[in-house]
Symmetry: D2
Amino acid sequence: MKVAIIGGTGYGAIELIRFLYNHPYTEIEAIISHSQSGERLDSVYPHVTDLVIEPLETLNIDQLAERVELVFFATPPGISKKLAPGFLAKRIKCIDLSGDFRLKSSQVYQDWYQGSAAEQQYLDLAVYGLSEIYTEEVKNAELIANPGCYPTASLLGLIPALNHGMVDPQSIIIDAKSGVSGAGRSTSLNTHYPEMNENLKAYKLGQHKHIPEIEQALQIEAGKELKVAFSTHLVPMTRGIMSTIYVNAIEEISTKEVIEAYTAFYDGHPFVRVRREGELPATREVYGSNFCDLGFYSDQRTGKLTIVSVIDNLVKGASGQAVQNMNLLNGWEPSTGLNYLPIYP
Amino acid sequence: MKVAIIGGTGYGAIELIRFLYNHPYTEIEAIISHSQSGERLDSVYPHVTDLVIEPLETLNIDQLAERVELVFFATPPGISKKLAPGFLAKRIKCIDLSGDFRLKSSQVYQDWYQGSAAEQQYLDLAVYGLSEIYTEEVKNAELIANPGCYPTASLLGLIPALNHGMVDPQSIIIDAKSGVSGAGRSTSLNTHYPEMNENLKAYKLGQHKHIPEIEQALQIEAGKELKVAFSTHLVPMTRGIMSTIYVNAIEEISTKEVIEAYTAFYDGHPFVRVRREGELPATREVYGSNFCDLGFYSDQRTGKLTIVSVIDNLVKGASGQAVQNMNLLNGWEPSTGLNYLPIYP
Amino acid sequence: MKVAIIGGTGYGAIELIRFLYNHPYTEIEAIISHSQSGERLDSVYPHVTDLVIEPLETLNIDQLAERVELVFFATPPGISKKLAPGFLAKRIKCIDLSGDFRLKSSQVYQDWYQGSAAEQQYLDLAVYGLSEIYTEEVKNAELIANPGCYPTASLLGLIPALNHGMVDPQSIIIDAKSGVSGAGRSTSLNTHYPEMNENLKAYKLGQHKHIPEIEQALQIEAGKELKVAFSTHLVPMTRGIMSTIYVNAIEEISTKEVIEAYTAFYDGHPFVRVRREGELPATREVYGSNFCDLGFYSDQRTGKLTIVSVIDNLVKGASGQAVQNMNLLNGWEPSTGLNYLPIYP
Amino acid sequence: MKVAIIGGTGYGAIELIRFLYNHPYTEIEAIISHSQSGERLDSVYPHVTDLVIEPLETLNIDQLAERVELVFFATPPGISKKLAPGFLAKRIKCIDLSGDFRLKSSQVYQDWYQGSAAEQQYLDLAVYGLSEIYTEEVKNAELIANPGCYPTASLLGLIPALNHGMVDPQSIIIDAKSGVSGAGRSTSLNTHYPEMNENLKAYKLGQHKHIPEIEQALQIEAGKELKVAFSTHLVPMTRGIMSTIYVNAIEEISTKEVIEAYTAFYDGHPFVRVRREGELPATREVYGSNFCDLGFYSDQRTGKLTIVSVIDNLVKGASGQAVQNMNLLNGWEPSTGLNYLPIYP
């Protein structure tokens, strides 16, 4: 199957290219870059020297629709909502790594994204691609809204607990920490090496765009409105997200029981690994891979359950999950082209 | 004033030596090291080459009590409880950087430290040296229990809110993150560079020894029993602690009002800096210094107040605060020998 | 083909397992660990949870020789010289990642390794597995001495220049820099995170065991005795080696000419990438991959040629090259199971 | 003494402010920033919150000359050559941290800096402020050209060997490595955190502007023309420079003899620390301090002497040495306001 990547020079795209390069059933037909068309990818990313040598292209939807069956958008906010409809009209499947189609309510989108949402019909059409949870919906989707990095880690950690009625949906606090690659490749003082090295920063407390995305998904599980307290931090490392999640247990439950419930919930989903009692996952343990590892501590003193969820933000939090969704969409084994060990150390 | 440092080769001691080296009113008379006595400090720490050249000594309490007026303990758990009484009997003031004298209840100590507590008379005698809060008590102390690193950051962030009755004392969640120097100089797989670099680890959820220390101090403010949910994480950096604290506001309060209340509370205490609305402190902004910086976000959506507190774990979280306490004890200006800008970048 | 790994819990082994896990023609039949036999690998390395679940075994040569066709040694110095003969006697091929069989002269081995060398017949038997240079010899080997990490980077950078008679063999200076994983998984003060982070250390100037290995290979090319000045440095990163090499050009030569000569030399060897004029390789550009990237600057002012050679020390500098040698040995495409893009960022 | 800093928002300035803040004999009267005048420094650098609160000013030479006795230039290339003459005309002493006045030959300046040099009379007037070497000249200077970071580390490492006629001046190779703060505060893809973290980069081989500065100083010592091979590398750390220097010994000399010669040479210069035989300095051992530490290895096998020189690039390589020069200029103890222990870890 031939595919195209639009927005070819960001970190999302380059990680997509890494996985597609070895995917047995797909071929990258075109890499589209508005800003650097005509150049070769290896002049932008020297690590692909000799390996990915076709020039970056400008976008021509009509032409591209003839050449490929599926398009990945790894574009900044506001681009895919304009371009995806053109592809969909030609029955080209679209997987969007940006936030343009994740929120069902255009009002909520406008409140949090400070811009106008995609047309409602596309918001309705889009399937939220949290692969382990919406597996069946993804299989039949035309347009997939690939989840955000923080929501992926947070939702995979929380949904089973809500689904089992184990915790109070009104009590959710998510303390999320991310490596700096999550901020993308655009330079800023904030991500300038001497400002970020040997430093730990909190940012956008209670104001991150991923909040409505998390709440939307959790409300479905809880069956009612809820709000989450959500904080984000930048950690001096390149890759990795950890969400440390605090919820009130509805009744006393042991760490062991929680682990059993989660193990059962994720049975048949190899990319979520429920870790043993006493083990807490570290971000390095999923580095470069599509795994989401979950650890638990149920505190009898406070009645709170703490859930630790880690992913590689560029893989399970972006491009790996996009490939997993492509696999589902095509009826392939979900782990096709993703079945690698994490890189350690 | 002549002082001695016992436990002279850990990170706490070496940071103490850094500040005492330039302190105008003190002189380091002796550095005691059980494991490396006879050696020169610069063979253990080459960065002091040519600067601190006296040999490390073995401990002789009687002799040392003749030579110094004050002793700092920068020893592992369980040492100072044995040694401090000998100095106190000779009216030598003691500042203990370990946890031996921090908890008033010997039962609580045993529950969390898995060892027997110091004698009750010394637990009673010890003043908890959180300098900004117990300023007056410290001035008259004989034995100071210098606070732990996590408690210092957490308590300075929480006490004003409890003191003002602004938040529900039963709702406290502290998500704490530390640089790796907090684990000390003893090697372990956990702190081996390739295991810790480009990694983020959660550890000891709900089980850290600093929990009872935090609860003990907060209960005094709240006037009742309370439990805190407390999680700790290792961040790939050497220095710095950030406590991100979540509490339920008792009634609606704006970030601005919180800032005003904290500014008033810490008036006259230059080492606590209440940051402006919209600013969140980063650990690097207090690097190498004795400051504790506080930032706030009061979320009207969730009714929760988030407090971000940062310190340098080796300074305000250990040796800097010990020097500040020594200053208070002697009636000197609290900032004597500590009045430096943070090192940035 | 079934293979075994002896010394299964070091970084060399775990990286070998990463590549073999996806290798199309091999299966890991046994992982041998003296120190942790009986345990599962994922209790030592949690990142393989659910993926590599067989218990670590103790070594029984007779039994193992029945089960496998090839053995990798990822053992500390001095082990393989004792064990490999037993396997060789049973016609099991051996690839040794340690230094035991790299030096042809047992006297030189003793001078640099401070221990007795393997028996001379095995030193004679061993083929030095620098894959691009000794391709044919490796294909027919029984025992492969897989090169050291520094020698791999240094020799791939130097051999073409010597081979072409471009530079003075007596003028070689190699300034080598390594990530900390090169020091292995054993803890030490030197590799303790707070000692190594935000630090750069020179070590073992002129005394590293890799010196005779480099000289032995270069003398073959130069056709005469030579000595290299070789320095090593630890850089605060986990993976990557850079050798910056200084040699005197025999006659004036442009950077462009050097690049042409190297490009021709490495034609047909995809893992060595000769970078374009004006480009210097960075270690991250080969991260996690089996590439060796080379950059050049021929300085007309000084008459010196500077060669910059980068590898991932754990891949091309150890386990990746071992797999490449296994491929050659079996007549498979050299890039089998190694054909991945570097991980960036 | 009142001083002004021009170019107040770069890393050079902020480090100057750190030292001047505690300097006993000086007061910062004005901080000039073209780009951010009117703002407070703590809105640019939050770590000085509550500490440095005067607004940044625009430059008015006439007015400023009334208020201060000395001006520091921490400006980008090409600024001080225009501004310093105005101050000098009013007999205000100038210390320039940029490269504008370092080269005596305007032709050499133009060749390497690609711009026109300062007027020859100012190039002649300027004293090259390598404090330990040109101590007497600095004491009487009106205009001081503060040395570059790489030249400081390299020259302090090399000059005694040349001065003693110990090594061949035509054989000098300097392999220099720097932390990222040396690239300044302006953002670039090169210094974007995810591009620089866990990475090691060579850059500007044989083309760095510091080459003519090094050669100019060495030629004076050698008494003849010479060229150095000089390479630069970016290391994933914020602070620190290491120059690993290779020279041919003129006759056999032991490491011990080298150390004795250097110790004698730097007698009375406390900021250069000659390390013991067998010890090699690491950059962290001078972190935040004005020390330059030197280590040696004389290799009898190759006849080469290797010199390892480390400094903190922002201190001895910039602002610390500027303060040291100010002290010399005023007849104060050279270590005034600089007499601190390095920060470790």
